[in-house]
């Protein structure tokens, strides 16, 4: 959010000091126990924190009583269907809606011109990350970048296949879909471009007239002179170019929205699963020109997010608008085909990386040139930005230089996708380290060991200016190798070979960042019955906040977890809150809930002192009750609350310092050289998540994260046909997914090196599984194929690509016969 734009330490072209231990920490970086009002949290008060408490969400979800958006229906509701562009780039000459208007059951056919006439504006996406710890991404001329206005329906032209250009509202979904087919758009096809490198080439088609050359962000970071000097002296330089493929989130619940309008009050209610109802409300109110007080957004059960639901979708604004025009409820539910075309997508980074080493294999400097494909307009620069801060990975690299560009193309917009930006750069550095080891004839584990950031150098400032808060990187690697049974690799190799298979192992270290919206608010109420209600602004989509947040408050108030109820996802109750993204939730919510709990206990103590007749500071608080050593009287929190005056405290907290979860993952594959079938036979990882509130939930996050990373490396891909500009992955029949029968059990371990930046020492869980997985899988496959002469392969590493690589390899013929 731009209001947090302050500080100058990450400006482009500012020459930061060489990387190393960070001696001058920015103000407010470390957790200040005194200023926070909660002091140091004694571990002995943790009763349920750290325990695998079973989830309270589950009962409704296993009995079919979940409340997903499409499960809601309001009497008299209508259905919306979209008319979408079949072209990647085409001017809209005219839209003839007459036939559709006449179709049975149709109430309205609306176009972009109607939206303009009604005064609707673009979605205010605010894509440039701007906390004081984010790198500053700017236009080539140094100004704030042009992002391409995101109207709900365009009036000039369609800029990607699937872009909605008109909406039909009818009595049934089928009637709306039938009528949408009758809308005639007079298109003028225009030249198109899908690849970000092609889009920067001279003469490439222009996505926006405002941005000649399509690169709307071009910023440089780091000390270029120092990097050049180090490269000039280096004993060896390793260099590589990678494309981190475009994927899509495939949340199992397709996106949906139901808008209801109450003409009596003038208020609209929008049921729409998202990554945070507060943002949806703010941005949608602005788009429609509504007083925010006239909009209520509800986000109950959300069937997966992974970043794709963080930003506003046009259909959410469209159903709101239609329901106000027609004074009837209007629902839209995307089909899976629509999701493949128009869910915000992920990754799509081209990166050119170079690493300079001395003769002993010590890293001297690094160069990176990163190009992010944002699609037809810029919804979020999070992936480019997050990755920029982490190009040096887990390693001490004294100097680094990065050029970061973002480019418009005629494709669906990209957005943060699980572990936004981090898997991309982790893939680049880890592959580069393997390449350097091979070229220099060094052991790849030993090369890593030599260069990992040491715990004694924490907090550590990287050459990109990121401050790694804490971590024991080498210990992670050792623990992961032990978990993996690294020593058994030769025996497993022999065993695989005896079965005619090629075995390969890939190891990757990672460090990722959790930044996210800095503000969070908690309101805690204790009712006379002892029930505790906590209102908080995060938005889970499977992460179990109703359970893990209750654990935190239960321990703070020393009350059973079952008594604590978490309220989220209703903007009439939640006034402020940053939503759930970037692994921010437990850190921000945990901190502010602890603060609000402490405020509540302070109030309660004063009341208890009155009741018990002793000075407040002499009271003990144990098991949810105040007592005094000279008395056998006690008073519980529940007894201090009355129906008229429940115990209540609210706190808003702002926390800027990012944290850096880290770890190591190892993947083993077996490849059948005849069929090129790849099987993952073993996967082990250690994730340092800082304080772990609920290990059952964190392990679950690791499992799912691994599968998503493995999916991208092995099967998932959103390719575009260069000639026609058509997306080739339009359904689950064209898009390979992790399935029950193509992934193994995972061996996951947690490491808890507490972060000094917040009271619990939380870092984050959830992205650690995905971050290294692109690298581990690819490195394992390359390890298996190295004896056959294969040195490079790009994701996804499908059997077809393997086969091509094997047949193109110089030693292919000899070693295969």
């Amino acid at each position: 959010m731009s209001e947090h734009d302050s500080g100058t330490d990450r400006d482009a072209d500012a020459a930061p000091a060489a990387a190393g231990p960070c001696t001058e920490l920015p103000e407010g970086w470390a957790y200040d126990a005194e200023a926070s009002g909660i002091g140091v949290l004694p571990v002995d008060m943790f009763r349920s924190i750290g325990k695998p408490v079973k989830r309270r969400e589950d009962r409704r979800l296993v009995t079919g009583k979940g409340r997903f958006t499409d499960d809601f229906s309001v009497a008299g509701q209508l259905y919306a269907a979209m008319v979408r562009s079949p072209y990647p780039h085409a001017r809209i000459r005219a839209i003839d809606t007459a036939a559709a208007q006449e179709a049975p059951g149709v109430l309205a056919v609306l176009t972009g011109q109607d939206a303009l006439d009604d005064g609707l504006g673009p979605i205010p996406h605010n894509p440039v990350p701007s906390t004081r710890f984010d790198v500053k991404l700017r236009a080539p001329d140094g100004a704030m970048p042009f992002i391409g206005p995101h109207l709900l329906l365009p009036v000039d032209k369609a800029r990607h296949v699937g872009e909605a250009v008109a909406m039909v509202v009818a009595e049934s979904r089928a009637a709306a879909e039938d009528a949408a087919e009758l809308v005639e758009v007079d298109w003028e096809e225009l030249p198109h471009v899908a690849d970000s490198l092609d889009a920067m080439a001279p003469g490439a088609p222009q996505v926006w007239d405002e941005v000649p050359g399509n690169a709307f962000v071009d910023s440089a970071f780091g000390d270029e002179a120092a990097v050049d000097a180090a490269f000039a002296e280096a004993a060896h330089v390793a260099s590589a170019k990678f494309h981190v493929n475009r994927v899509t989130a495939v949340t199992m619940e397709p996106r949906a929205a139901l808008a209801d309008y109450d003409p009596e009050t003038g208020r609209s209610t929008l049921y729409a699963g998202s990554g945070g109802a507060v943002r949806q409300k703010r941005e949608l109110a602005e788009t429609l020109g509504l007083d925010p007080a006239d909009l209520r957004v509800l986000s109950h059960d959300v069937g997966g997010n992974f970043g794709a639901r963080n930003r506003v979708y046009v259909e959410f604004g469209l159903v709101l608008w239609a329901s106000r025009r027609l004074q009837r409820p209007v629902k839209f539910t995307a089909t899976r085909s629509e999701s493949f075309l128009t869910d915000y997508q992920g990754r799509d980074l081209n990166t050119h990386v170079q690493l300079a080493l001395d003769a002993d294999g010590r890293f001297l400097a690094m160069k990176a040139d990163n190009v992010s494909n944002v699609g037809a307009r810029c919804v979020s620069l999070s992936p480019l930005s997050k990755g920029s801060g982490l190009i040096t990975g887990s390693y001490h690299i004294p100097h680094a230089h990065l050029r970061a560009r973002a480019v418009f193309t005629n494709t669906m917009c990209t957005q943060a996708y699980r572990s936004s930006g981090r898997p991309e750069v982790t893939y680049a550095i880890e592959r580069l380290v393997d390449i350097a080891a091979e070229e220099m004839g060094l052991d790849k584990i030993e090369l890593r060991r030599r260069n990992l950031v040491a715990p004694t150098d924490m907090p550590y400032r990287t050459a990109m200016g990121s401050i790694y808060d804490s971590g024991e990187y080498e210990a992670n690697m050792d623990r992961a190798m032990a978990l993996f049974e690294w020593d058994a690799i030769p025996a497993r190799h022999a065993d695989a070979e005896a079965r005619g298979k090629r075995l390969g192992v890939g190891l990757a270290n990672y460090v990722e960042s959790s930044i996210g919206t800095p503000k969070e608010r908690a309101e805690i109420t204790v009712a006379p019955g002892g029930q505790v209600e906590v209102v908080i602004g995060t938005q889970p989509s499977g992460q179990g906040h109703e359970t893990s947040f209750a654990q935190v408050v239960a321990d703070m108030l020393q009350t059973p977890v079952e008594r604590v109820r978490i309220v989220l996802g209703d903007t009439d109750k939640v006034s402020l809150g940053g939503g759930t993204h970037s692994g921010r939730s437990m850190r921000h919510a945990g901190t502010v809930m602890a603060m609000a709990s402490a405020d509540l206990l302070r109030k309660a103590r004063t009341l208890a002192a009155d009741r018990l007749g002793f000075p407040p500071e002499e009271l003990d608080f144990t098991d949810g009750a105040f007592s005094h050593r000279d008395s056998n009287q006690t008073v519980t929190l529940a007894e201090l609350a009355t129906a008229d005056a429940p115990l209540f405290a609210a706190r808003t907290n702002e926390m800027h310092a990012p944290v850096f979860p880290n770890g190591t993952a190892i993947c083993e594959v077996e490849i059948d050289p005849d069929t090129c079938r790849i099987e993952i036979t073993r996967y082990a990882s250690i994730d340092d998540v800082g304080r772990c509130i609920n290990p059952m939930i964190v392990h679950g996050q690791s499992h799912g994260g691994i599968a998503q990373g493995v999916g991208q490396a092995m099967w998932e891909n959103c390719p575009i046909d260069a000639e026609s500009g058509q997306p080739l992955a339009g359904s689950l029949m064209d898009y390979g997914m992790p399935r029950a029968d193509n992934v193994p059990f995972y061996d996951v371990g947690i490491s808890e090196v507490l972060s000094p930046t917040n009271p619990f020492g939380v870092k984050a869980g959830g992205e650690g599984g995905t971050t290294p997985a692109l690298a581990t899988v690819t490195l394992a496959v390359l390890d298996a194929l190295r004896p056959l002469g294969v040195r490079d392969i790009s994701m996804p590493v499908t059997p077809e690509r393997l086969w091509q690589a094997l047949h193109a390899a110089p030693q292919a013929t000899e070693s295969r016969t």
Partner: protein, 159 residues
Amino acid sequence: MSDVTINVNGTDRSATVEDRTLLVDFLREALGLTGTHVGCDTSQCGACTVILDGKAVKSCTVLAVMAEGSEVRTIEGLAEGDELHPVQAAFCKHHALQCGFCTPGMIMAAVNILERHGPDIDEALVRHQLEGNLCRCTGYHNIVKAVLDAAQQTRIAAE
């Protein structure tokens, strides 16, 4: 339009629907049984899995009129009052769900695996049988564990 009567979770339920109405829409829209989900339009995801005359089917590939006179079990009909079905209980115990969207279909598929194969099943069979049910959250680890444990519980109960 056709009149359709289907026995759903032990009760005959009737509605008049368009001939093109899918069984899943009949359940969700006509009967309000929203526990059965729709996750795709190509019969790939399994979110809509119900048990039709003793066999797990994807209810998005069955027309409501084709199920006329049949018996359908959905996620809503699985628990006996407050008592969860062993598969439901195992899903909770093993954290086999995160967002819970795939869960009803996954559970119905798993229940049917146990019904068809009995409790003596192993990991490979469970993974193979669940191949048509997609989950984006769990990486399948805890789902497979839960199904194997439910089988184990059934074995113990039978002894």
